[in-house]
Symmetry: C5
Subunit: 355 residues, 5 copies
């Protein structure tokens, strides 16, 4: 028994700030039994004869979708799962972990979903128990069935799953979960790329805040993928007869994919940072544009002020002061000089927008 | 059968935002048959006797250039290719993938072109099916033949391809595809380097936008190269009698090259970021230059305003107010002081351009 | 005997600028003796019969909690520990190290705590001496018992520790220590993430200073984890019959975890840097906002000044000067023009806050 | 035959923007023949008996310095070199490549020189053909002999080259070439470091442009070193009886060195980027200094303007207006207030230069 | 014989811009002879009987401290060291190198010291010659004995050195040298961290320059550690009977430590860059603070100027112009408005310092 995460409550908020999916539906039990030749799918309402094999030399996959404590505990009793593992399955917010106990390989990790409506990442805890001829999967939330594609593949006789042992199904399950990380990152990526367009065309404060939030989500996401990466590396190192050598090769692909996901998340994280820079710079340029206009306004008024000051002086003898057109000429000059200055600034290209 | 990419439609836009080349021409079929001694090249109009070997112990390469569904399905029937693979070949926008099914190695990946006219990256899906003595390649677009150089090499008796098995041709095909990534990156690189000159000499907004676009293209390009990198790594790990050990060594070279391409893309991505900084900084300096000029204008007027204010005061006793030259002297001063200030600023080097 | 760290005093301040926990309580001695079947826990007040095994083939773990020199020296004599090791145990501020002396594996490293009250990292020196059937641990500080969770696991008969040799306990101790690094980094991470919110909503100087401090703490923390990483790598390379091969596999997990901790620390370090940028940029934007307001104020006054200057001129013939409403019209204009300008600026969106 | 770089003309400009050294001198042929005991050096004017060994079991190194097509083709005929290799030797601007053809190892790569006068990188194409007992080297340019140091070592009986096979000489040649990259990077590095001093002390625009150019040269240089790195890795993987195992170990040193060169180039590239930042920041600070001075000028004038305005008002009853000293007192105030303000600014340290 | 560094004079300045320690004292010769049981230490004044073993099967370590050419040449003759090695030992400024010549392992590398007084890095060239039962070390400078701690360990009978062959001593020497890099980096690190405090509290130009210098020193330091890293890797790869397998394991620790040193140097280099940013940003904020104050000054004067302008107009009919208190009221307004504005600015928090 590995002795990590003793303070479960504390770590939960740290690791999984994402919304945990609420569990409102009943716990469902799906039983898949298959050999190379046959495949039986059942939705069980009760636990009767649940561990009975109808086919000879078949592999059974029991997918428990929901977190009804009683059902989980009963199943644990039937399959003789160690109490500490049950505790893990029923827990929340643990770091991804694996364990070998009593000829069983146990894995706890997280499925990620991107909720298109709330634009938030949702998380679901998945526990997998691998024994010689049985795989148990515990999905925290009964509303979503993350392994639907695998059950489809199971029905396909030509698929590899049917031709291999339980460990290949184990690989397929891990692959599906890791795939979900990739998909979430890509969803975040699309949003980030859209935000870029927004920022270039019309920098708004809420875009800036959203970027900030996305960057934080990417950091948190990386904090979830990195332990899974090492978990898979550990499983590959494991010398357990439950895992065939050729299955480990497939696990290497899963490892590669999680590395890709990690790399992609890192790329996007850097991208958000450069987007923030872009935002701040664009806002800065816009601000400078305003300051430039104001400075031009102030500057073109200065000569007129000086001219006004000149003829406002109280000298006894001043030219054109007694001329009837003097005032008009002077005021005309006070208007023409700013206009000339503006033309000159325009000619120099000072009014061109630079961002 | 690997069970990835179930939601093909969604991922397409993500992975391949580049324009897919439209398929307007007819599907062409090229058949290359070769042994060490002989090589036969045919352009077939129909599928008759397509799988017939004219030479003993020869290797046949069937290059299907175009995406006519009927032809592809017929060929699949002739060569006994699994339905799921056909589905992959006819699909769009999948992530690069490989598979081993029924003693066949299947690979799906993308050829990239840089369109010099539109300055856009174009993408073409390539599927390769490797069997013991036959290689099938499916090119989505009939207008471009990406494997022209390989067919040239095939005619050359001294070339390695003629002396090796089908797996060496497989390697040569992968090498050509990976090479295309390198070439596209280099093309992007040239444009980026040209943009740098533009920005230093004459920072314009469209250059800035083009950089942004290029950076995004580089990120997307990396998202295409990274999975291919891992795909090749997986093929190298594969223990399949179709692949000889010595061919795997050549695949290592392909792997190295894609790593180089990746590294280069990363370098250019960083470069675009520093170019953006450069642009913003140059624009900023230019803006500051304008602000400086305006501030100088405003500042040199201030003393004249003060002097005007002095002699505009209504004191009873004021010096030189009754002097005939008083006005001229004062106005002269109001003109000379700004001139002196400008000279002094010039002397201090304030008019030197700094960017 | 490895010959590092000869200048102990100098390096101490460098490596451990964190507060060393003061030792105020008495040194306590806990003796755990266990076989697969039985486990005995004793708190010893004296050293009598301390090295006596009550069970056959049992493993004894002696946890000395405190740094009473006399007790430590006596124990060293009883267990025949080399003088140089005793010197290490009683020293302060050494770099983490390991050594193989006289069929003993010695390890010195640091436990880290995050003090939630003072928001400071506290450090405690831990020395571990592994022999064939005995493990001695020396904790510098009697107030904290860092290995409480392990003693709990020891009482659990199903736990792996009870079924394995002393080297597994050794692994469990290292794992606990490395775990503490992870927890401290996570605590720092939470604070950093909270600071980000503070900075975006209300950038204050003390937040800026706190970030600076946290970044420094992260650098120092990395300086502590990197040597531990290499220390564990060295132990894994060690060919010592005290360490079983299967235990080394577990050490690989510890190695992975410290790498994760390191990566996380690096991520947070980069994050603090981007936070500093964010702070400075936000402050800059705020400052620019002020400058903009002031520039607007100055600019809207300029036309009024010019108009005042116009009618302050001393021309003989000036329009509306003799008009009774002239003054009111002019002053009205002097008030309306700024108001119009302000409206126009508002209309252009110049008063919108951009940060 | 590897089938890369079909579009040689296009890639040339991309890969080698450096000046290719013009070939103005005649092609020279140097023949070195050596055994452990003896070494013969000849400069040949014609190709007569060029492939004749004068010593038993000797190794011959033929260094062809220049690119006279006729001579190269004749030598190719004498040594039975494949036509495709001859094409490579005579080509320009190819990516570094290696090939195994007809029991020959062929390598094409580039020697780099830093021209101290023009401050430009010059490039020379080198082709190496390794056979059992003969090495042929083709240097594009007759003016420079890059392998002078090796010919010196050949004359030294104690040197390793004399005691080993042709593959050791092959290693020595590669080592010399890779060494040239290191030296060029170091030369660039010195210039970069000198530019830093220039920028800190006197930021000038041409320094900025030179940095930009150097950074670009470093990127291009990396684009040349990375393929050579992988080329050497490929040679190390090669299983060819021409290469002894112990020579591969030396190649590992060459690999290490090119990695170092790469790392150094990367460091300098980053350094140039931080230098650009430094330049822009320094220029910015200088500009701010000017703006500060102008703002001070404008600000100290404002109170005087106000005072002038006060006494320019046309109230009937105004104080000190009839006082004889009124004007002097007021003007004195208008002069003293700015002086006081300047003193206060000075006292506050506003005139201190900050860069 | 490796053929690197032919242009020794040129590379010297590049690699070692640090002050070479002047050699003013006489060359000293220390002879240590030891077996597991006995250890003899002698300071020799002449070379008589220098190669005589007093103990049977003993290992002799000859530490030549100083660079007296005659003594070194005599020793070389006595121990039959190759001329080329002697040349290396007497040279300056070479890149770190190793060589195997005539059953001897030769290593040349550098010891680094941080001079606390001059705050400069000092460098000393160390050459090590390892033969079967003798180690020769040549220290360039007689003033410093870098291997003092090892001679201390030699006297300690329990130390590992006494129980092992000469290669273990060789390892211990390398370890001491690599340790010196670590210590120098830590010293630089402390200074950098102190500079950070200086910059935050009182940004001064000399701190900025010092940071720049430290960053350059770190780059140069890395340029010294990276070749040593690869040198040690090469030694580990070496198959030489002088090196036992178990000693290579210790060399792995040295390798790890130099990697740590490298990482630390890189961290500090990045830190100096962020410090420069910090400096420039702080200076910028300070400058902005000044600009803000000046802009406030200018802005608060503007309304007063306008009011002055209003009542300076020459309209015939103007209100309160004939009122006795008119002037006082108006001037009061001209004073109160700026005061009100200042209060409002204060209330808005514009006077708060933000850095």
């Amino acid at each position: 028994m590995k002795h990590k995460n003793t303070s479960k409550k504390n770590t939960r908020k740290i690791l999984n700030p994402f919304e945990f999916i609420k569990n409102e539906s009943d716990t469902k039990i799906y039983k898949y039994e298959y050999t190379t030749e046959h495949a039986i799918t059942e939705e069980k309402n009760n636990l009767e004869k649940i561990n009975e094999h109808k086919l000879t030399n078949s592999i059974v996959w029991l997918n428990i979708d929901g977190s009804d404590k009683n059902i989980i505990k009963k199943i644990a009793t039937i399959y003789n799962i160690h109490d500490l593992l049950i505790e893990d399955i029923l827990s929340h917010g643990q770091r991804p972990k694996y364990d070998e106990v009593n000829e069983v390989i146990f894995t706890l990790l997280y499925m990620l979903y991107y909720n298109d409506d709330t634009k938030e990442i949702e998380i679901e805890q998945i526990s997998i128990v691998l024994t010689k001829s049985t795989i148990l999967t515990f999905q925290e939330n009964a509303d979503k069935d993350v392994f639907k594609n695998i059950s489809t593949l199971l029905k396909n006789k030509a698929g590899k799953i049917r031709n291999r042992n339980a460990d290949y199904l184990f690989y397929a399950l891990l692959d599906t979960i890791v795939n979900s990380y990739y998909q979430v990152i890509e969803k975040l990526g699309i949003e980030i790329e859209n935000l870029e367009t927004t920022i270039i065309e019309n920098p708004r404060q809420d875009a800036f805040k959203r970027i900030n939030q996305l960057r934080k989500e990417l950091i948190l996401l990386k904090r979830n993928t990195v332990p899974v990466r090492d978990l898979i590396a550990s499983i590959m190192r494991m010398e357990n007869e439950l895992l065939e050598e050729r299955t480990k090769k497939y696990l290497k692909d899963v490892y590669d994919q999680i590395m890709q996901a990690n790399e992609l998340a890192e790329n996007y994280r850097e991208f958000t940072m450069s987007l923030q820079d872009l935002y701040l710079n664009t806002v800065n340029l816009k601000m400078n544009e305003i300051m430039k206009t104001l400075a031009i306004l102030t500057a073109v008024m200065a000569p007129a002020t000086v001219i006004g000051g000149i003829f406002g002086m109280n000298f006894e003898k001043m030219p054109i002061i007694h001329n009837n057109l003097g005032f008009l000429i002077t005021v005309g000059l006070m208007i023409l000089i700013p206009i000339f200055m503006l033309w000159w600034f325009f000619y120099r290209g000072w009014f061109k927008k630079e961002y």
